[in-house]
């Protein structure tokens, strides 16, 4: 471990501050925490790059929730969305960088309960506001909406699960919708967490920390509600375990290229054993997506690099033949993300 850190420190010393902020922070954090699953971005991203990466993810999340809650994409004025707080003209999907892509698939959930309906509406409106905020913060550097697949992507994802669910769609029932949301929210948390230490402007950091907290509220909401709908842990909970395992595998695939600890960084809703003060071992829920291995993580949420997040949302397309590839295309982003001059990989 010390060898790896000295190697990284050599890199830092040679390449100076920019390198320190992009490579050093995430990698060193992993070492400070005892060597977990922190990988690193080899590219020197600017703040605008990082925020645009986040904007691509927000376009994806916002469209998923708008389609689920209101039956329309974010750019369409919709009476129900407007009543809940959406802008009356819809949310712009064009930007100064890249051309606006279309969204395929998606339909309104046949809601059966006040709980899930109200949660979907709240989340849709908040993710839409994140799109608007990032567009505003980036101003003329903002990317347009990329092409987004919210239809057949779910079957691709389902096929990759173990056990496979090749006909999975999130739009048939409330439970399925929550599983779809589950796919995104914990990833959003790890993405903003990973991005926080890459940002160089204090105001951007404050904003990223604020969005991180909202994504974690959403993730906690989804995980809490799945537990409530599946108290016997027999229908939805096993799927959350499969989704978390897949995300961990895709994240580790990227980390493996840089010789990081391959232990899982993602946990489904299966209960686990914890040791509380006084020595009692008891069963606990896992509302928080954090490792129970306290020799490594101390119940601190995982941070992922842009490469790891990209590999997850493109179904493993950002890592081929032992190396990071660009552009990564697949699953939710059939034409890849819209990126500035530095690209994403």
């Amino acid at each position: 471990m010390a060898n790896l850190e000295t190697q990284i420190l050599d890199d830092i010393i040679i390449k100076g501050r920019r390198k320190l902020l992009t490579l050093g922070s995430a990698a060193l954090a992993g070492l400070v925490l005892g060597g977990t699953k922190e990988a690193k971005a080899a590219t020197a991203y600017t703040d605008a790059d990082i925020l645009n990466f986040a904007l691509n993810l927000e376009y994806l999340e916002a469209n998923f929730y708008y389609l689920s809650a209101f039956g329309c994409t974010i750019d369409k004025p919709n009476a129900a969305a407007i009543a809940a707080g959406a802008p009356s003209a819809g949310i712009p999907i064009t930007g100064s960088v890249g051309t606006a892509g279309t969204v395929s698939g998606g339909s309104k959930i046949p809601f059966a309960t006040t709980e899930v309906a109200s949660y979907a509406i709240e989340t849709a409106i908040e993710e839409g506001k994140h799109v608007l905020f990032l567009q505003s913060a980036l101003s003329t550097a903002a990317v347009a909406q990329p092409a987004i697949n919210l239809g057949t992507s779910w079957q691709m994802l389902g096929s990759a699960l173990t056990p496979a669910a090749p006909t999975f769609t999130p739009y048939d029932t409330e439970g399925d919708f929550l599983l779809g949301a589950y796919v995104f929210e914990d990833v959003g948390v790890t993405a903003y967490h990973g991005a926080a230490s890459l940002l160089t402007v204090s105001g951007n950091l404050s904003a990223a920390a604020g969005i991180l907290s909202v994504e974690a509220y959403h993730a906690g909401l989804i995980r809490t509600t799945i537990n409530a709908l599946d108290p016997s842990a027999s229908t939805l909970v096993p799927v959350t375990n499969a989704i978390s395992n897949l995300r961990a595998a895709l994240a580790v695939q990227v980390a493996a290229a840089t010789t990081y600890d391959p232990s899982p960084d993602d946990f489904g809703l299966a209960t686990f054993q914890v040791s509380l003060a006084g020595g009692s071992n008891v069963t606990a829920t896992r509302i928080v997506d954090a490792s129970a291995d306290n020799s490594k993580t101390f119940a601190i949420a995982t941070a992922r690099t842009t490469s790891q997040v990209l590999n997850i949302v493109t179904g493993g397309s950002s890592f081929k033949n032992g190396a990071l590839t660009s552009p990564a295309t697949g699953v939710f982003f059939p034409a890849g993300m819209n990126a500035g001059p530095n690209g994403f990989k």
Partner: protein
């Protein structure tokens, strides 16, 4: 900038030499080594004077002591082990370890708690306990011991929040009451970490403190979401706030938190985005829980700015006003911390 860059590189060099000489270093020793950086890195924030990264982490540690004690008592009927609360070996600071004030109401959560409910109490207790352990490890010999903590303050706080209607509230009486007790802390924890993150120095960022703080922030927000979702779902299932008064109790707490910090808004970017208006208004850090009806209204699980949906941040002063239960500028103790926090931020300055 060049000076800062050089200083960072110097630190990296010294750390590299330290590691190269040390060979395989245990995680705890490594983190204790990192704490050395703090002694030379200072910053300042309006009104609080100079502080180090260790001061920022110790501020967080005080809050984690409080949360861990509350949740551990709720889960098991007893608190943190002495090894997790005493001054660490080699501690040279002046703060002393306090005790936890309890009474007969401070017990494992009762009232017919179900096995599934007990499991969530266990989870949160475990995670807060680990946060204490993490911060103590990261700070090494610089970690402050636990300050005096009063777990009987829930009753007077509830009385204050409810305008005298609740006279003997105990968060240990039932699972629903526990949710209200937890509600007092969790949104505050989220905003405290959001406010503290930008205070960490560039060297602290390089040492992983920012990533760690952001990771704890995320966990606090997961907890807050659980609490807010459980209370909202309870009210929806009961059909009205009258049938499930805990949603009203929680919103009364939100209003009280708001009142305790009115006028303490900081002009610093990203810090304390409001607290001059009523909860839910564009100038408040509080978003009350909603009771959705039917399939077309939104819930209010997330506590975030109404325009941007970005989570709030609170300053160290604002957080102290809340845990002291006092809006008085200059307050330095009270409420959950009868002798104040073991922190250089203990005395409120705004």
């Amino acid at each position: 900038m060049d000076t800062k860059l050089n200083s960072l590189i110097d630190k990296a060099l010294s750390r590299r030499n330290f590691l190269a000489g040390a060979g395989s270093v245990a995680a705890v020793g490594l983190m204790a080594g990192c704490a050395d950086d703090n002694t030379t890195t200072t910053g300042s924030s309006g009104g609080t004077g100079a502080y180090t990264d260790a001061d920022v982490l110790n501020f967080a540690l005080n809050l984690e002591y409080l949360e861990a004690q509350f949740y551990l008592y709720a889960a098991t009927g007893h608190g943190l082990e002495a090894t997790d609360t005493a001054a660490p070996s080699g501690y040279t600071g002046t703060y002393t370890m306090g005790s936890v004030t309890t009474n007969s109401s401070v017990t494992q959560v009762g009232g017919g708690i179900t096995a599934a409910q007990q499991q969530i109490v266990n989870e949160i207790a475990y995670e807060e306990q680990e946060h204490v352990r993490f911060l103590r490890s990261a700070l090494g010999a610089a970690a402050v011991p636990m300050p005096a903590i009063d777990l009987t303050f829930f009753a007077p706080l509830a009385s204050l929040a409810s305008g005298g209607a609740l006279t003997a509230f105990s968060p240990f009486a039932s699972f629903d009451a526990f949710l209200v007790g937890a509600f007092i802390f969790e949104d505050v924890g989220v905003t405290a970490y959001a406010g503290a993150a930008p205070l960490i120095s560039a060297a602290g960022v390089a040492s992983g403190y920012l990533t760690a703080a952001a990771g704890i922030l995320a966990v606090e927000a997961y907890h807050a979401a659980y609490i807010r979702t459980a209370i909202t779902a309870g009210a929806i299932q009961a059909g009205s706030a009258a049938a499930f008064p805990y949603i009203t109790y929680a919103n009364d707490v939100a209003t009280l938190r708001n009142t305790l910090t009115v006028g303490n808004n900081s002009a610093a970017p990203g810090m304390g985005t409001g607290n001059t208006g009523a909860p839910g208004s564009s100038t408040s850090c509080e978003v009350p829980l909603a009771l959705p009806t039917g399939l077309t209204t939104a819930s209010s699980i997330v506590a975030a700015d109404s325009k941007t949906a970005i989570g709030f941040a609170r300053t160290v002063n604002q957080v102290h006003h809340i845990v002291y239960g006092s809006a008085t500028v200059g307050a330095k103790s009270g409420g959950f911390f009868p002798n104040g926090t073991n922190s250089i931020f203990a005395t409120t300055t705004a």
